[in-house]
């Protein structure tokens, strides 16, 4: 009769295995392929925040606040966000320079450029435009503002920081925004940029 008890034991173990299996499955599912969707979503919202700031003249604080919101929201889901943004505004200041060639006068405008570093580390930043270059080290969770002189209503500017070196074409007389976003969870990393 020994064999029958072994069989009953085996049967019991298998039944327990089948009963316990569904309980071991996770109840809330969130695969890693949601990172690109989240990145697209967040990048689309930054220009909206920027415009809210334009209307209320507090772009820096709104962009900082939104960046904190994104960081804290994603941290709850084990997603690490690294964000870097740069924006310019035409200042009310206006200065004239004389062209070196023919004695005729042309005018340039001063634009205000602001950088926000939320990459989780200090980064060197260099903005190179035809007439001026500006280098600085921006601390983590810090912003930096400076004035640049630009000539012409359209200008190209190269933004050199630790993660990327984009060259963007911006319009002098309107607000311009560049955002770098990196989302990481486990081994998955998504990097996206936006210039608006």
């Amino acid at each position: 009769m020994k064999g029958q008890f072994f069989l009953l034991g085996a049967l019991l173990l298998i039944i327990l295995f089948f009963v316990a299996l569904p309980r071991s499955l996770p109840t809330l599912r969130e695969p890693s392929n949601d990172l690109p969707l989240l990145a697209d979503n967040i990048l689309r919202e930054y220009p909206i925040v920027f415009n809210f700031g334009l209307n209320s003249s507090n772009q820096i604080s709104l962009l900082r606040n939104f960046t904190s919101f994104v960081n804290e929201t994603l941290a709850d889901r084990n997603i690490r966000a690294r964000i870097f943004w740069v924006f310019t505004n035409a200042t009310s200041g206006y200065e004239s320079v004389f062209s070196s060639g023919g004695g005729g006068a042309s005018s340039t405008d001063t634009i205000n450029l602001t950088v926000g570093n939320f990459l989780g580390e200090n980064t060197s930043f260099k903005a190179t435009e035809t007439f001026s270059t500006n280098s600085v080290t921006v601390g983590d969770n810090a912003t930096y503002s400076t004035n640049l002189i630009v000539l012409g209503s359209l200008f190209n500017i190269t933004l050199n920081f630790s993660r990327s070196i984009p060259t963007v074409e911006w319009v002098r007389d309107k607000g311009n925004l560049y955002v770098y976003l990196e989302l990481e969870r486990g081994g998955s990393v998504v990097r996206k940029e936006l210039s608006a």
């Binding site: 969130e30 969707l37 979503n41 925040v49 809210f52 709104l62 804290e72 889901r77």
Partner: protein
């Protein structure tokens, strides 16, 4: 008589082994379940494109957003979170998927995280 019981035992053991192996093989070749996270995100994005999501997220009106979720053949629930608080319900179940959509605000800055839960 002893030989008869040995035969019965071996048949039962064979049935158990075949059943177990069949279960393992079936699980190995079962295609993965649909990714409902993408469906949840697309649904929220569609609502935003229609202008339905943003104003009601700003007003924390999760029930209205939930009522606008259509064409989804799963159970659904909506939750809206700001940094300080969440409103709405989280369903209990064995298969619950969540898609997230972040909004900066509608006519003023009011960031919200809208979560759409899909479940079977």
């Amino acid at each position: 008589m002893r030989g008869f019981w040995f035969t019965v035992e071996s048949v039962i053991a064979g049935i158990l082994v075949v059943t177990f192996m069949g279960f393992i093989v079936t699980r190995s070749f079962t295609p993965p379940e649909d990714d409902l996270t993408s469906l949840a995100y697309d649904t929220l994005k569609q609502l935003d494109d229609q202008g339905v999501l943003r104003p009601y997220a700003q007003a924390n009106n999760y029930s209205y957003i939930d009522s606008q979720v259509r064409g989804v053949s799963y159970g659904h629930a909506v939750q809206i979170c700001s940094l300080s608080t969440c409103v709405g319900s989280v369903p209990n179940g064995d298969n619950v998927w969540v898609g997230t959509f972040i909004t900066a605000g509608n006519n003023l800055y009011a960031p919200r995280e809208v979560k759409l839960y899909l479940y079977r």
